[in-house]
Amino acid sequence: MTDEVQPLRTLGGPMARRQLHFVWILDISGSMRADGKIQALNVAISEALPSLRAAAQSNMSADVMVRAVTFSTGAQWHCADPVPVGEFRWQPVDADGFTDMGAALSLVAEGLRALPERGLSPVLVLVSDGQPTDDFADGLRQLLDTTWGSRAIRLAIAIGRDADQSVLQTFIGHESGQRPVLANDPDAIVAAIRWASTAVAPTFRESGSSLGVPGDDDLFYAPGDSRPS
């Protein structure tokens, strides 16, 4: 007779899937009203949700939690509490005000400080069409001073030609080799948002290598733009 294997569910204590926090950091300043940008952003985030959920589903080692910060004059949590990706619904936003990007990063820093000690590196996606109107450097410093902020995968999407790409690159950092993704028309905004959503997939995360960034000349030129040869 074979003895039954003793259950060891408590060996070492409870096991639990780690959380992967995905945070949209969205520019809803007044300039986003032009050229259908804010409408495109709202549509893009809604339409990217299936991609985000699919990428999250492929990551069987983590529970993906989503929330968002919007910034214009000041910054605020659009959804303050992390929501499981399967339950996340996007509430459209309007555009008005300045571009207080530093305040947004400060708010995100505050949110990251509350995360548990162990987990997967969060994914932060900054989307902007302009230049910061407040102390961006201080906000970034506060973010990078947090444990999770410094270890986060930081991505950026530059909407339109007036976006300050150097600021966005500073947000991303230079070690990863990533660049801000350029989105010059609504279709490109949708594509960029969908691409950023896949950052929660395990292939990217396990390797620690650079995320595959669609080349500018592949996706993000507006119709009629000249493409590099």
Binding site: G13, S58, S61, P116, E206, S209, G212
Partner: protein, 274 residues
């Protein structure tokens, strides 16, 4: 005191993420028993890196296990063991490369995004294609010797039940692990030797698929201590089925491959005249 007897039990499970992606297990484990002149047992665990550059990670992990079995007992000591392990691993990798050169076909998406990075890495160091960690434990009559390169757990449990980590790697800020495939692998080595008089009753080697399944920092220490207590209280060996159930739970939760080796050590007084 001297070490009288060693018992080695292993188990492993493919990670849930790997199963879903129809990937095999990237961990390898193996052990040998000796006659005590001077080696009583050697066990090695390796975790192939989930990195696009490491297309032959499982082969590299298997080579760690094979190289560990080939490490000579002389000269003694973990430093010599580490040097021999690295040299033997490189010899096996280079021989494999000679017969199986790296080609674009080795990459899952040879023309896709990231392929250029992979080619660039191979141009600098072809051995990175076989990238893996290496955890090695060798027990002689005189000592328990540990060598590690990369992440994972090496935990010792003393007779009084206290568990402690051995040879912890430096925590990297970029979240990557060190690798035996590095050109400067010797700098990544962490090693230790515990004399027989202070030998633990259990040395646990585990890949990080276990630790990643726990939300608490000290869970693996607790698990190792509980295993030792279970064996002491029941008087029965801890079989591979028990470790296997643990590995399955960890692999399901962490999503990563989970492989463990338990090295049970019995010590006694040295014979008179020694």
């Amino acid at each position: 005191m001297r070490i009288e007897r060693v018992e080695i039990t292993t188990a492993g499970e493919t990670g849930a993420t790997h199963r879903q992606q129809q990937r095999g297990c990237d961990d390898a484990v193996g052990w040998t028993h000796g006659d005590g002149r001077p080696v009583l047992g050697t066990v090695a665990i390796a975790d192939g890196h989930s990195d696009p550059r490491c297309v032959r990670r499982r082969v590299g992990a298997d080579f760690v296990v094979a190289a560990a079995a080939a490490v000579p007992a002389d000269p003694p000591g973990p430093d010599a063991m580490a040097a021999a392990l690295i040299a033997e691993w490189r010899r096996r990798v280079d021989r494999h490369l000679a017969g199986h050169p790296l080609t674009p076909a080795d990459i899952a998406a040879p023309t896709g995004v990231g392929a250029a990075d992979v080619y660039a890495a191979w141009a600098t160091n072809r051995r990175v294609a076989y990238g893996t960690t290496a955890l090695l434990c060798r027990i002689t009559r005189e000592a328990v010797e540990i060598v590690r390169i990369g992440d994972g757990d090496v935990i010792a449990v003393a007779a009084d039940g206290r568990a402690r980590r051995l040879v912890d790697p430096e925590r990297r800020s970029d979240g990557l692990t060190e690798s035996i495939s590095q050109p400067d692998a010797h700098r990544a080595v962490r090693c230790a030797a515990i004399p027989a008089g202070a030998a633990p009753v259990l040395v646990l080697l585990a890949t990080d698929g276990f630790d990643n399944a726990y939300p608490a920092e000290d869970s693996m220490l607790r698990a190792a201590a509980e295993l030792a207590t279970l064996r002491r209280d029941t008087g029965e060996p801890i079989g591979s089925d028990v470790l296997g159930q643990w590995a399955r739970e960890a692999a399901d939760v962490s999503g990563d491959d989970a492989t463990v080796a338990a090295v049970w050590i019995e010590s006694g007084p040295a014979p008179a005249g020694e």
